[in-house]
């Protein structure tokens, strides 16, 4: 039981209460289908890796380079995940829970770095500080690019959390710092751990930025196998090491003590908490946030501006209009974001509301795809598409499904965190009052978990906008997206011609970020200020 204070019992049911309820068949079946679809790339890996002789796998795996690649991967994941957790949680708390000046603007600014292609962040930093390569360069660039993965679910969780618990804790005389650790962070625990999981898995699969920063990990090695050896089977065999690392990370997180659900209590409408005044801390917090935005957004945007202004005229003609590329990108990404959020819903409901060993394994298995390099997932879909779904191959629905598969983990973490906060009791009351189960779920639970769904949409949308590897492989032949055009120009050293495409990618991400921000501010009462 994680709720420290105030528990009316009947309304907010926890832990064991959920076990007694039968798992609805539709929910279970949908979740199994979703999980199966997400495991396709892993199965493909196993099959393809089977084609490689043991000798050549051994030759690749058992050499000095492998040990240093493993060490590089592990030390980067550990430090970057920790930094992302600290930055993401602090920013979320300041923006969602305190009377910080300009909260709405900050809420948009801090998530935008998720929409900057890693390549641009890396290139921006390398131009500003050419010495910034290797380990610390990788830590810096990846932290700045990935902390939104922690921020978004944690912020959504703070938003839907019950302010009453903090208020009661304060009224009982606990100091603000104690309230923060004992109540606030604990309320966002599921979101925070989920975000950290996403960051560490994403680090396993990252390629573009590390290539720029000249930091070698297992994934850069896998790409090299593809690139210079045309050796897809060997690359797949090496990817199995990533799967193993992913399983270790997932298992490690799962072995942490289970705190159960922490749903809100008290009035059943979303009530905004009173905002804590930052007092004398206001200026340092504003400086910290400004620094964060300047580093994560300012440097790459400055780079793009520089390209636009100083790049001069590119000698290369464009192969598509900026508008057409923007529309295709927005359409595909929005569809993928909606699909991923929709698919995450049953899995999250099953994992939270019907806890069992198998629902936990099923849910965890859907996160594995995050640890796989994009090229591996895309080639698995190529195999699937050309062998079993030929009419769909290289059509828009296939690309949308590919994005939804690649970024499903982002959606799941965001949705799950808020499902964990929505009390089952409310839905049960609605049903006892005669609502049909599905209707009760749609009308009662859905609005409660809406912040999570919105965060999921936002995350998947931004990730899809900048996705390149799978896009190049699966986009309908002849169609150009912002990312493919950006790539076409940068691979020809035409940074000036590439810059507008990067600028529009960031601009596109402003739209969901603003929408999400507006939506929440609508549901919030004007902030009252409490003295700590």
């Amino acid at each position: 039981m994680s709720v420290a204070v105030g528990d009316p019992g009947v309304i907010a049911r926890h832990g064991r209460g959920a076990h007694r309820r039968r798992t609805p068949r539709v929910l279970a079946a949908t979740s199994v289908i979703v999980a199966a679809a997400l495991l396709v790339p892993v199965v493909f890996l196993l099959v393809d890796a089977g084609q490689v002789g043991e000798a050549s796998i051994a030759r690749l795996l058992f050499r000095g380079l492998t040990a240093s690649l493993l060490w590089n991967t592990v030390r980067l994941a550990a430090v970057t995940t920790l930094l992302c957790a600290v930055i993401g949680t602090s920013a979320a708390w300041w923006i969602e829970r305190t009377a910080l000046p300009g909260r709405r603007a900050w809420a948009v600014l801090v998530i935008l770095p998720a929409a900057v292609p890693d390549f641009v962040i890396a290139y921006g930093w390398l131009s500003a500080a050419p010495w910034l390569t290797g380990y610390w360069g990788a830590v810096l660039v990846m932290t700045l690019g990935l902390y939104p993965l922690v921020y978004l679910p944690v912020a959504a969780s703070f938003r839907s959390a019950d302010p009453g618990q903090e208020e009661v804790a304060r009224s009982l005389g606990l100091r603000p710092a104690t309230v923060f650790w004992r109540v606030t962070v604990r309320q966002a625990r599921s979101a925070l751990l989920g975000g950290c999981l996403l960051v560490s898995l994403a680090l396993l699969a990252e390629y573009g930025a590390f290539e720029m920063l000249r930091y070698q990990t297992f994934t850069t090695e896998i790409f090299t196998e593809f690139q210079v050896g045309f050796n897809a089977p060997a690359a797949c065999a090496l990817s199995l090491v990533l799967v193993a690392l992913g399983v270790i990370i997932l298992g490690g997180e799962a072995s942490l003590p289970d705190r159960g659900r922490t749903s809100r209590v008290g009035p059943m409408v979303a009530r905004a908490g009173s905002r804590l005044s930052l007092g004398r801390a206001t200026v340092p917090v504003l400086v910290a946030l400004s620094l964060l935005v300047a580093m994560a957004l300012g440097v790459p945007v400055g780079m793009i501006t520089y390209w636009l202004v100083h790049g001069g005229v590119s000698t290369l003609p464009a192969t598509t209009s900026l508008l057409s590329a923007t529309l295709y990108t927005a359409g595909y990404s929005a569809a993928a974001a909606a699909l991923a959020a929709l698919l995450a819903l049953p899995v999250a409901l099953l994992a939270v509301r019907h806890r069992s060993r198998w629902s936990r394994v099923l849910e965890r298995s859907t996160l594995l795809v995050q640890a796989l390099p994009g090229v591996v997932v895309a080639l698995a879909l190529v195999y699937l598409g050309t062998n079993y779904l030929l009419p769909l191959y290289q059509t828009p629905p296939m690309l949308v499904v590919a994005y939804a598969v690649l970024f499903f983990p982002l959606a799941l973490i965001a949705v799950r965190a808020t499902v964990a906060r929505a009390p089952v009791g409310l839905e049960e009351i609605a049903r006892s009052l005669g609502k049909r189960p599905l209707r009760a779920r749609l009308e009662v639970t859905l609005p409660l978990i809406a912040p999570g769904i919105a965060a999921a949409f936002c995350l998947v949308f931004m990730a899809s906008v900048t996705e390149l590897t799978a896009t190049l492989i699966l986009v309908p032949t002849g169609v150009q997206t912002l990312a493919t055009q950006f790539w076409a120009f940068t691979s020809n050293v035409s940074y000036s011609a590439a810059a507008p495409y990067a600028a529009v990618m960031i601009a596109l991400a402003v739209v969901p970020a603003l929408l999400v921000g507006r939506w929440f501010s609508r549901n919030q009462s004007p902030s009252a200020t409490l003295q700590p």
Partner: protein
Amino acid sequence: MQRRLRPLTASLALAASAALVSLVGCGGSNADPANTLVLYNGQHEQTANALIAAFEQKTGITVQVRSDDEDVLANQIVQEGANSPADLFYTENSPALAFLSSKGLLSSVTPSTLAEVPAQYDSPQGDWVGVSARVSVLVYNTNMLQASQLPTSITQLADPRWKGLIGIAPSETDFQPIVTSLDMSEGATATVHWLEALKTNAGDHTYPDNETLVAQVNSGAVAIGVINNYYWYRERAEIGASGMHSKIAFFAPRDPGYVVDVSGAAVLKSSHHQANAERFLAFLVSPQGQQIIANTDSFEYPLDPSIPAAGGQIPFASLQPNPISIAQLGTGATAVALLQQAQLI
């Protein structure tokens, strides 16, 4: 409750309609499939587009193009197998074509098309045709080095005096032909030693691609590197002659580091449009196609000896490279194994 449902409903509707628009409204053209070719393109997109535009105008055949790195495309074609939507494959280097050739995925090219370019630049099996060529050169920063200080052989770059001065891009596909060439001239053991020395000399200056390498030499981050000729010309076209603080230089004639590498194209066996696809290959090597390559900003050598390359480069015929054959370059598997042994990749 009702009030709060509205934004949710609205955004779900928005998302759903966005999904519909993208699913219904996007993708592909309405071209007649029988008269349409699909080209998987690993070459410079702009060069390919210029060639396609002229071909479409001349023949009335539509060509849809999918561009990606040649290695990804080659792996993709293998995965697609008999159901590949691709009719044609156009690459920057020969190993990608040799790889598909070794898998038996390419159709034989008509002898008259093969005859348009010197035989040594075509597939030894006759299943792809050479289209253009590039040559490996030294690039050096003119503020840091004089022409007289340059090595005459690539083997000299292993000398400790280049430590901290040289940059390399060993994972570039363009680097493999040099390794193969060195292996042919000096043998495997010497090549691995050379690679290891190169790795030590380069240290942190190991770059992901030749674009970065040429930019780093030009900016003075390193003094010297080995690239393919056209990267330097692309850099110059992009930043202007006034921004260039580097020059290119050739190794001594027939040095193992002096290598000509071929860009080529092929028709896939799985294509249902063999005749039209053949016409595209014939167009690539025709005087019109070769002239387009010479005119675009890719700065490669057309294989037609009568057409000079762009940018005022020395004529292709006067190059004196190490005479290694396309068959010797192969799929690059030996070079890759040596690079792995030296732990450069």
